[in-house]
Symmetry: D2
Subunit: 414 residues, 4 copies
């Protein structure tokens, strides 16, 4: 139970490992998870869950900071309702949150641990069963708005570097009872209210939307990176949001593990990563700890290429299996995943520094650096230019894509 690959202070490409990786522990799985699944009841019994709900919440928070310290992780993430129990009224819930965030603030100051991001749980309470911002009943939407207002206040209070929206119930279960156009508009207007309030209170953090294709809904509007980008641009919200990409959600959307990280980055929209994994043969969110070095290498390669993730980070939105009932399994799992990402970082750094694969890619596109290619690149070419070029130059020569060569070379780095 010690790191084999991760070494926080080691400098790679001019930056400490911990600054490239910016690991974060999530509150919901690691401190609130009880090991229930749709076919079985609680298997995980944590020592901090005792006393009244508020006592439990305090114990949990203290235990969490102890865990962060032992593990050597500098960031954490949470939903409002993870940290403090929901009361019977909004006012009571907010008071609970005030008390717990006071303690959190104090623990942050003592330890230097920071909030990577905070988010509001707008999906677990029965009131949200038909959606929060997209609920057919405006009364429910109002409740969600009130909750987000408080969440933004909390983000400011705790100095959160990001604020995440995950629309677990923003979608539909049946198209027959749903007015999609109305719901999309309501969701956009909801986000606009959040932007205005953020600006009003001078909250500086980055807003992030986390795509997921389905589950719990049959269909969620934030299906994948491109769906969210389309939505944001349609409603003029794209300057105010980036994406928090979770690879387990990406694979559920039918893409490869790294796909949405690549796409979000290509569109300048990659804000943060929920570093977990699913099993490609399963059709639901398993939130496993990421252990595949090929995947972590591909992700870190993109992150290096865009110059890092800050103010985002690598948040372990991952849970120990419900069969992993020992307390030490929490440590084993995080350490294994941190090592997997550290190894991925080392690989990606070596790929970058040796430059073999990047050089091959650059050469592959080199025709766009001059002549007609350059004019395409710059947007000044015309179809008439194209036709004239072909009439003069005829058929292009065949160039092998050499995928197997790229794969073989890549294998030498992992």
């Amino acid at each position: 139970m010690c790191f084999k690959q991760y070494n926080a202070e080691e400098v790679l490409l001019g930056r400490k490992m911990e600054d490239w990786l910016r690991f974060s522990v999530c509150y919901w799985h690691t401190f609130c998870g009880i090991g229930a699944d749709p076919f079985g009841s609680q298997t995980l019994h944590r020592p901090w869950n005792q006393g009244t709900p508020m006592e439990s919440a305090r114990n949990r928070l203290n235990a969490a900071f102890e865990f962060f310290n032992k593990l050597g992780v500098k960031y954490y993430t949470f939903h409002d309702r993870d940290m403090a129990p929901e009361g019977s009224t909004l006012e009571e819930s907010n008071r609970n949150l005030d008390q717990l965030t006071d303690l959190a603030l104090q623990l942050q100051a003592q330890t230097g641990v920071q909030v990577l991001w905070v988010t509001c749980n707008l999906f677990a309470h029965p009131r949200y069963m038909n959606g929060a911002a997209t609920n057919p009943d405006s009364h429910v939407l109002a409740y969600a708005g009130a909750q987000v207002k408080k969440g933004l206040d909390v983000a400011k209070k705790l100095g959160a570097e990001n604020f995440v929206f995950w629309g677990g119930r923003e979608g539909f279960y049946s198209i027959l009872n749903t007015d999609v156009a109305a719901e999309l508009k309501h969701m956009a207007n909801f986000f606009k209210m959040a932007v205005r309030y953020k600006e009003k209170i001078g909250l500086k953090c980055q807003f992030l939307i986390e795509p997921k294709p389905k589950e719990p809904c049959k269909h969620q509007y934030d299906y994948d990176a491109m769906s969210v980008i389309g939505f944001l641009k349609h409603y003029g919200l794209d300057d105010h949001f980036k994406l928090n990409i979770e690879p387990n959600h990406t694979t559920l959307a039918g893409h490869s593990y790294e796909h949405d990280i690549v796409m979000a980055s290509a569109f300048g929209m990659l804000g943060s990563v929920d570093s977990n994994t699913g099993s490609p043969d399963l059709g639901w969110d398993t939130d496993q700890f990421p252990m595949d070095t090929k995947n972590t290498t591909l992700v870190m390669k993109v992150i290096i290429e865009q110059g890092g993730l800050q103010p985002g980070g690598l948040n372990f939105d991952a849970k120990v299996r419900r069969e992993s009932t020992d307390l030490e399994d929490l440590f084993i799992a995080h350490i294994g995943a941190m090592d997997a990402f550290a190894r991925g970082l080392r690989n990606a750094v070596r790929l970058t520094e040796e430059g073999l694969l990047p050089g091959m890619v650059k050469e592959r596109y080199s025709s766009f650096a001059q002549g007609l290619g350059q004019r395409v690149e710059e947007g000044t070419a015309t179809l008439e230019d194209m036709e004239a070029y072909i009439k003069q130059n005829g058929e292009p020569k065949v160039t092998s894509g050499k995928q197997e060569k790229y794969e073989s070379i890549f294998n030498q780095y992992i």
Copy 2:
């Protein structure tokens, strides 16, 4: 072998059946298909395929118009290379196309059959194996541009109502050898050139992009409706394009049959439909004739709600199975599919006219018609308003979504 449901002249909701449905026969499957698949060779031997390539092409075109007439369909669609064989140079290919489109123009005039849309085949020739507009070699991109220029000229010549772009090779097979950001930019600039040329020659038709998630590529940039919408809006192209949705592509993207039709319509981007189907248990494009009445009802419901598809239509991008070797199978298949859509139209009309389900949906969202809901709808509400509302009104009441009721009622219409 006669229509059980389709009746071209029958008027429903103030419009003739044929005007609601705007059926179109596709050239590639129905007249060029030979029944080969990745594991087997040609099974379909058509009488029109004899003589030199150009003679075959003429025979095929004459046979096609005979088929349109017998079937009573008013529109057809084709790729440039379906209609006329590719020559050994661009010039020769263009001359071939000129000759065949002369004949097409004449046949159109004789029969009244029109071009629903034309498209360029930028994926079958080996030169496009690594992409057309996204090829790493600008020479290939130039070839694609030259081909599209001619395609637009042809669209104008034949009075096509739409022009489709399907980016079969615009994507990647391996992320390791691909510069995604560069390719996306090239693709956007390619579309901009097409827009400029279209405007220059005064071509009036609607530009359409047809999403597909994968196949032949491992990943295509035009993954689904929302991906294309995101791309178009990012590059400022959304005023110039709508979408041509193919349900078999939609299901391959992990959505339900009607999903992209619903989403494209909600964003005001539904231009046309490639009315086919796949099998939900298969992971590739089978392009089957649509025979499921539930699906056709859902599609026609959306089309009615947006007031029709014109200038788009329902194009049968569908092929008889390679085991359906009789010539009559072409008729049987089209008639079966036309009946399936005619039945879907009848069902959707009845749904609309009786108003039971639409009324239930309207009632479900009625809280947005006044008060705070209305201000959300209009975009004038704030988070502070929300909080105040909840402090005053407390918890919303639980309202059943009643999905099973909607499903049971819907069943009475199909």
Copy 3:
């Protein structure tokens, strides 16, 4: 809220509708379901859930029989732990079960409602998290054995017509910590013990295994119909078991809705059906009420062809959506599904009686009724015969499969 298609007493093909359909209500979803999902808490609050656990259990049972009567359904199914709460020891659990089954017996006598099947819940209690019959700890296997012994006693007491085994945790989450060969052998020996005990106590009911590919496990040994058939035959258990097929499990295994019903029937192993549905675009078990007439027609066609399902039936292993919070939704859902199956039955009867499609299929295989085909059918032909036949008769003629014709005709029946 009345039947549109179902008419219990109506006679079709010489048998009452209710005898063809043998509908059964499941206890777990309909009376124990609370509307929680992995992302949200309880939404369904039923009037029968009040008092101590044993009081609740009695209220629930009385309410269940009231529901059966109102609905007009003659069968029900349950897990041991649905009917009576688990105690703190096996003895206490068994006592609870004794008390509740006394009441059940009395209610059965009063109403004539019968047990279609009973099953033991060997997956929900934390002790079973790593499997029941396949647990790496023999102590857990022993617990499962003790529970099944009681379950078989209960089956006898209540006159259950079938007894189901669903191995929700019989499989693995990670191949790395699993000895597959050992687990399979233990499971087989577990089934053998059950067979011996069944014979010892003179229990007459049919044993059924219910396949499911995954969920909760990453992989379940009873993946699909053919997997179970292979397992049963390998361990010499096939004379003692048939299959209980659930279409939602079939589609999760990558097959079409009707697939495992067709395959199980072809191997003489179709015992009963859990008549529900999933959504083909979702990768988890949604247990929706079956509402698709095409599917119900295909299922009823197989059932008619094999002469009925008795002693099995159509058990609604389906739950109202967690958003369907009204008590009446339970009725609406069952009635909608019963109508969908009744309509499927009517369609299948018409298909059978008119004989058009069955006749086309028979004609298609007619070459096996004489000559070399007949000898293949009987198993007396040799490869040498084949070669001689081809040397004499040469190439076979091409015969169209005419899939579209079959589909179009089928559409006229649904």
Copy 4:
């Protein structure tokens, strides 16, 4: 372009690397592949494809043996129709095959390269479009039988160590026109004829069935390992066949990469491996070269545990991408894949020799080594024993499955 991991003569666990791995090159992809796909035409132009079909075939065979030698691979595999062109009659096809196998025999003698397995192509010719052994027309079945007779003769002539049946068209495209029970029986009788003929001619090779779930069929009867095992046992064929597992087929069936290798081995039925890979996000057979070290390690671990694959081997049923147009790509791809498997072998050997993970697994199941567990293992325990045991010993203690620990340790070996 040289091996980084593979070293044929190096001895591991008492056996040479080449004897553990038994690599084989496939004929169809590597020498017959032309780079066409359903959306594009030929991209691969090989120097050996010139002259008449028979001249081409001879050139190809000579080139193939040159390739085997350069690569240092000792086995190859082929379909009858890969090696010699199909003639216009069975007799002509057989004569072609005689001539080419004469040459093959000579080349085998010169080089020491051997046939790992031979198979008959019963899917590509149009006559097989509706199936070979399961064709509705017995005339087609006879043709398949005649072809298999010759194939078995060829296997004997060339000393093939195995003979493979892949039923690409043995299944259905539409359940509506299919008599599943009849087709299964015909297929079983077909296999029985092959067994009888094999015995008659004294052919010693192992018969193998290769499962595939779908493609080209909508559904193939040989869906996966367990489906084939079920079929073989039902028809009493299991003593005469083992399985040839292709991981790309396994993943298409919804399993993890190594699944069918694990299951086939657990049932004593693993005969050979088609060592390729697909992409988990794609729904069709891509037949890529295997490059993932985690997968190759898992496969080699199973192979070591069952004591090797002989007379089977690792056949590269993999093709260079159609964009990999250079001749050297054939070498690069095979070398990369051989290195990936050699690395997997090294990892699996280290896992075995160090014994850490195997020891943890053994400990996990240790309760079956004595007492009640042992009686379960031996099949002598009863349900009554179980109940007595629980009444005495009560609730089992909870034992963590420790999946993350297994995964972390496994990561240290790859």
